[in-house]
């Protein structure tokens, strides 16, 4: 039975249950001299929930285990005897047979898969019908149960509210599940990676060339220090050299000097700068900034100037971060008590002296926290470096030279055609793990700093 038809049927049953529950509750209302805690539509909803939720929960579970049951059924057929022993090849043939059974226009690669496909189709439709029938039965049974429970004194509303509360709790647990999912998948794949490559080689090795991996000593070409250096150089040095002065000065000007009209125009403009997708910045860096900087580098005689320079990626990334730094600095300056500012101005200090000697020192922890958040954002930024930085892993202090980053290498490693178990792919997860840990630490430190500072003035 197709899933859409099944869902449609379940929804229809739910509607019937809602109507009949409501009718039954209204019928009870005819009796005089009674007080009700629930309205007829609460009773209707109660019946509808009992009709709809059990089949949906069942289908969710069934959807997870039916493919396994179908595969077991296929393995019992005579054609399955020719399958290779359990392993990667066997899984590939079975998944191809499943694909052919679902989509008849596919051209088969493996003759065995073609022979297994009809068996698959039979098994799948069998378990599909079993699941569909059970789901509908469950829905009808649940609806009947709820319908019979509707009595004059029955409090349907609190029942519904309990279900609503449960769904609220479930929704908020998704955030934890996502975090667990991220940590688990990164840890699991990284652990497999560090099973073949010693962790010290990865963290302290100075040679990175994943294209040629020596199977006997994979750690020799998977040393990530050049990537860490490039990430730090582009994200934390060059980008910040652009973003901190520009962001800070814009925030100071907008909060302290600008007329309300200019502020009303400039703030949305900076927000637009923050809303431009990173792929656009990346394209701009690769098309305009990179070649221009190469020409500049060649003109002033810098050896090894390339159009995929660290400077191009870092500059554009810095521009991208300006609004972020600006809004963080804005918040930090706004949180300084105005008494401090007024006191300084009353003593005869000029506005700029007040800002640089009173406001900024007082706001410093907040600004530092904001800068740390900005750094964490810059080193996690992907598209600008993927499009504007090079893939060559070198350690160089020359900003006109090429540099590569962790994020760029993750993309390069995972968009090739390597199989999922190769050290190359697993290395991407190890890099992701490192990135995750570093950005997490930066965020935690930044949030602690900002929080302490806020408490100091509250």
């Amino acid at each position: 039975m197709p899933t859409s038809a099944l869902l449609f049927l379940v929804a229809g049953l739910g509607l019937i249950a809602w109507l009949s529950g409501r009718v039954r509750a209204i019928a009870f209302r005819k009796a005089p001299g009674q007080r009700f805690s629930s309205l007829p539509r609460h009773h209707g909803s109660f019946a509808a929930m009992w009709t709809v939720l059990p089949p949906l929960l069942f289908l969710a579970v069934w959807g997870a285990c039916a493919p396994g049951l179908a595969t077991n059924g296929v393995l019992k057929t005579p054609a399955a005897a020719q399958l290779p022993p359990p392993g990667f090849e066997r899984a590939a043939i079975l998944s191809e047979a499943r694909a052919i059974a679902n989509d008849h226009h596919r051209t088969p690669l493996n003759p065995l898969a073609t022979r297994l496909a009809p068996a698959y189709a039979v098994e799948q439709s069998r378990y599909g019908w079993i699941g569909g029938a059970t789901a509908l039965l469950l829905g009808i049974a649940g609806g009947a149960f709820a319908f019979l429970r509707i009595r004059p004194g029955f409090n349907a509303r609190t029942r519904i509210e309990r279900i609503v509360m449960a769904s609220l709790l479930a929704a908020s647990l998704i955030a934890i599940l996502t975090t667990i999912g991220i940590v688990a998948s990164l840890l699991f794949e990284s652990a497999r990676f560090f099973g073949t490559v010693p962790i010290t080689d990865f963290l302290f090795g100075r040679h990175w060339s994943p294209q040629v991996i020596d199977p006997r000593n994979p750690g020799a070409s998977l040393g990530a220090v050049p990537l860490f250096w490039g990430t730090f150089f582009i994200g934390a040095v060059i980008a910040m050299l652009v973003a901190i002065p520009f962001g800070l000065m814009s925030a100071i000007y907008l909060t302290q000097y600008a007329s309300p009209r200019l502020r009303a125009w400039m703030k949305p403009t900076l927000e637009i700068l923050a809303g431009v997708p990173t792929v656009v910045y990346g394209y701009f860096a690769a098309l305009v900034v990179g070649p221009a900087l190469r020409q500049l580098g060649v003109a002033i005689g810098i050896p090894g100037a390339t159009s995929e320079s660290a400077l191009a990626a870092g500059l554009v990334m810095g521009v991208m971060i300006i609004p972020f730094v600006s809004s963080m600095a804005d918040d930090a300056i706004a949180a300084v008590p105005s008494a401090m500012r007024d006191g300084s101005l009353a003593m005869g200090a000029t506005p700029s002296e007040t800002i640089s000697r009173v406001l900024l020192p007082a706001a410093l922890p907040g600004v530092v926290g904001g800068v740390l958040l900005a750094i964490s954002r810059a080193i996690g930024e992907t598209m600008i470096v993927v499009m504007a930085a090079s893939g060559a892993a070198t350690i160089s202090l020359n900003p006109f030279n090429s540099a590569t980053t962790v994020t760029k290498q993750i993309v390069d490693l995972l968009t090739g055609e390597a199989s999922f178990d190769s050290p190359k792919t697993l290395a991407a997860f190890a890099l992701g793990m490192t990135l995750f840990v570093i950005t997490l630490l930066l965020n935690i430190i930044a949030l602690t700093v900002v929080k302490r500072y806020r408490e100091a003035y509250e």
């Binding site: 769904s167 609220l168 000065m249 000097y257 997708p277 800002i355 992907t382 995972l414």
Partner: protein, 404 residues
């Protein structure tokens, strides 16, 4: 004393000027970026066509109006070697360089013309066909000197015209820059956003309601809060790795499908929606809740009848901003394989598809010069969507935001 004051005032003016310069330079960069994209992209919306007269009976295809209209007409058209016909007609009309003047997609235009009007097949017709990429760029004064001279000759002879490139809005990816379109990528983006919205909005709003209105202060709630705040700051590429490891390798969902892209982006967008919704809910004054409770409403009724409707504009603003971010996101989608060459728009959620930002990324990697203007044109389309979404968000904020 006087001198000291003057010096201090000069420093004051300098400082102020620095501030102004920072703002002007930031805005100037934005302007420069937009102008560059506009200048490059405007040409992407223009198509160049060259006239070609084709004598169908002489081409010996055996196509007659009746045959095209009759059953199997589509098959006959598909089987006819129209690309060879175009090449021969071009060689006859323009000499040896003729076939190189026309785009690889020219024969599909001829096929479409024949299908639309089968009577063309009986005689000699003059058709406007898309020009090859180098002629196209030359006609826009950006090609090689040789090609530009050729284009000039064609223009003078009235054999070359330019017009609005409708095919760019209705087509899909192609290897030929003159035949590419963004509809396929746009449709992929729409499907992906649909999945993202359907998951992230309810889950985000419900968890915000729980955390803000009902959650007891205990270790579990703190854990949920910490995870949401951290998820909002996790680099987007990490979500791509999560999608790859969980949705593709554990649940075996189809690669490069809008469904998987939507799921991944939903996980990324959800914390943004939660944080915005919590702020909106926090802004609803407690007196509203107290009044509803005093009239006998249950806690669930208080929230769903009073708090949620009042917080809704703020929630919607946050949701639109979160969705705009998801629409412009590229990196996590590269991880789950949405970078394939997709020449047909996706029909359903599990079809292989690509999205607009990824399409931009793919085109930016192409070597052919013709792709530069198409990339910029696609960027313009993306920016128009994002600006519209942000504009709606700002409008909602100004229109409905209540200061209590």
């Amino acid at each position: 004393m006087e001198r000291r004051v003057r010096r201090r005032y000069a420093a004051e003016r300098r400082f102020r000027l620095f501030g102004l310069a920072a703002i002007v330079l930031s805005a100037g960069f934005l302007l420069f970026l937009l102008v560059t994209m506009m200048a490059n992209g405007a040409r992407g919306f223009v198509t160049t066509e060259v006239a070609l007269s084709i004598d169908f009976p002489a081409a010996g295809l055996g196509l007659t109006p009746d045959r095209i209209r009759g059953p199997g007409g589509d098959l006959a058209l598909a089987g006819a070697q129209l690309d060879a016909v175009v090449d021969r007609a071009a060689a006859a009309q323009y000499g040896a360089i003729g076939p190189a003047l026309f785009s690889d997609g020219a024969d599909t235009i001829v096929r479409r013309a024949l299908k639309a009007d089968p009577r063309l097949a009986v005689g000699r017709v003059r058709l406007w066909l898309p020009a090859a990429s180098d002629v196209d760029t030359a006609a826009k004064a950006d090609g090689t000197p040789l090609a530009e001279k050729r284009a000039q000759v064609l223009t003078d002879a009235g054999q070359l015209r330019t017009g609005f490139n409708w095919g760019f809005l209705s087509g899909s990816d192609s290897t030929d820059p003159t035949a590419v379109g963004i509809w396929g990528a746009l449709k992929g983006s729409l499907l992906t956003m649909l999945v993202t919205l359907a998951l992230a909005f309810p889950i985000g709003v419900l968890s915000a309601l729980y955390l803000e209105e009902y959650a007891p202060r205990n270790r579990w709630t703190d854990l949920i809060e910490v995870s949401i705040n951290n998820l909002a700051a996790v680099p987007s590429i990490i979500f791509g790795l999560l999608g790859l490891a969980v949705f593709l390798n554990t649940f075996h969902l189809p690669r490069s499908a809008a469904l998987v892209g939507g799921l991944t982006l939903a996980l990324m967008t959800m914390p943004v929606i939660v944080i915005a919704s919590r702020n909106a809910i926090k802004a609803v004054p407690p007196s509203i809740r107290d009044a509803a409770l005093a009239l006998g409403a249950s806690p669930v009724q208080v929230v769903f009848h009073h708090v949620l409707p009042l917080a809704l504009p703020g929630i919607l603003t946050g949701t639109i901003i979160g969705m705009a971010r998801a629409l412009g996101e590229t990196a996590p989608l590269l991880m789950i394989g949405m970078r394939a060459f997709i020449a047909t728009p996706p029909g359903k959620l599990t079809d292989p598809s690509t999205v607009l930002p990824v399409q931009i990324f793919l085109w930016s990697d192409e070597v052919s010069r013709g792709f530069i203007e198409k990339t910029s044109a696609a960027i313009i389309v993306l920016l128009v969507f994002l600006l519209a979404m942000n504009g709606i968000a700002i409008y909602l904020r100004n229109r409905f935001e209540t200061r209590w």
